[in-house]
């Protein structure tokens, strides 16, 4: 796998128009971020702050109203096909296709790339085994537990060995133990693959636990804080959590965050 390119978000703006009233709603207002290759970034923000819109823009499912997201020298929306097999996603719900077995779900992205069938099977099997699902490769999604389904979804994301991994509240719906276990697995695999990982979450514990870096979104994805987690010793994580909490509540950066980072 080639080294992942940096991601540059420049003056990104996204405006939606309500279908009924035609009223403009600003989902993202002039966002600037740069994400370095292989960084693990957690994006936190309250519900409706524009996290999911940012996610859709990152994947290339939506076009920016103004500004751009540039990955290397390409944009995920404008150069949509260029990123086939390079960007992979894990969603909040597993979003497995119910008519496909675990194996067939895991190999779906490889089918889309057009790899030979034996290669697809072999690679999907490898990833399912790594995620502890070797006994369930022929099981349909309804025959698997929530945690197992999410493992299949993770296998489906990693099977293409993507440059960029996106996870949108991927573990939020699972019980704490399963979520922690899957989070660890996800991060270990992302590091091993050398992928840049962007995790969107509303859980501060999760953000502090996984990210090298935490980006805090306010309303309309206003950049409230950009925190390097390494600058916060573990003993101060409680204070960090409190400071992010205050930032989110007041929709303005907490002074403690500025002082340290």
């Amino acid at each position: 796998m080639s080294s992942p390119p940096p991601i540059e978000v420049r003056q990104l703006r996204k405006v939606f128009h309500q279908a009924t009233s035609g009223q403009a709603v600003v989902a993202i207002e002039r966002l600037d971020i740069r994400i370095e290759p292989r960084e693990v970034v957690a994006i936190v923000g309250q519900t409706g702050c524009g996290k999911s819109t940012f996610f859709d823009l990152m994947i290339g499912l939506e076009a920016p109203t103004e500004g751009s997201i540039v990955i290397g020298d390409k944009t995920p929306y404008g150069d949509f096909d260029h990123f086939r097999g390079q960007i992979a996603t894990v969603f909040q719900q597993d979003r497995l296709l119910p008519w496909r077995s675990a194996l067939d779900n895991a190999r779906l992205p490889l089918e889309l790339i057009g790899l030979p069938e034996e290669v697809q099977r072999e690679r999907a099997l490898t990833w399912l085994k790594r995620l502890g699902l070797e006994r369930f490769i022929d099981a349909y999604p309804h025959e698997l537990s929530g945690g197992m389904r999410q493992r299949v979804a993770i296998a489906r994301a990693f099977v293409v060995q993507p440059n960029i991994l996106l996870a949108d509240e991927a573990f939020g719906h699972l019980d704490e133990v399963t979520a922690a276990e899957l989070r660890e697995t996800f991060l270990a695999l992302a590091r091993e693959c050398g992928s840049t990982a962007i995790l969107i979450t509303h859980q501060l514990e999760e953000a502090i636990g996984v990210g090298n870096r935490i980006i805090v979104f306010g309303k309309s994805a206003k950049l409230l804080a950009d925190i390097k987690v390494a600058q916060w010793p573990k003993s101060e994580h409680a204070m960090l959590r409190e400071a992010i909490q205050m930032t989110l509540q007041s929709n303005s950066p907490d002074p403690r965050l500025a002082r340290v980072s």
């Binding site: 290339g60 097999g85 960007i87 969603f91 296709l97 008519w99 779906l108 992205p109 889309l112």
Partner: protein, 256 residues
Amino acid sequence: MIQEHRELAVDPRFPRQTLVSVLVFCIVWEILSYLAPSLGIPAFAIPSFVRIGQSLLTITPIDVAVTLARVIGALIVSFVLGLALAMAMYSSRSLENYLHPMIRLFMAVPVVSWILFAVLWFRGVEFRIGFVLLAVCGPVFLIDSLDAMRGVPRDLRGMMRSFRPTTLQFFIKLMLPAIVPSIITSWKINLSLAIRVVTIAELVGAVTGIGHQLAVAQELFSVADVFAWTLVLVALLFLLEALVIRIESRLLRWRP
């Protein structure tokens, strides 16, 4: 958790109540056939089962085969065209805006009108029957497929698009498998519709097929023959439905 035991599907195709009701009908019919002359009803109007059985022995397989071929052929063509048009309309909102009202209009046209149009417009019998079946069944396949495509969960569409499929891959890997249950239902509806429509169309202008044989039986005042050919039609429908159900259970074996 994986389910260790799957429930066995119980298919009570011939429950006791069905057998009883059919048996009662047969007994009443048979009694009526014997009593008909004394009730002032002509004997030929309610033939006995022996007479119907004799008519069944005279059924010409070629007419059954011709009707079957017309039904299946027209359904396949209607399905392919309906599905292709549904895919095009799903992909292009403006195309849908233009075509949807016309399709609804076509669906409101009575079958008899289509038959009359076919007789007036076309010379060949096969072409007339094919046209009528296409005009009646095509829009049903189209609208059912389009509605089913619109019903595919947004989450799944988003997931699929995130992996950047081509348009063809998007339909083959996601949309078509997702709408299989609706397509099967559409086939079941269209099967009975097509058998009725083809019979009427054959009744009017064909020289072969079950409809034509029904017209001959009517000209000969042979209720036994009408009964026999009707039984064949019903059996044909049941057989085709059984085939569709078998295909359905195979295609939808993933369902819990």
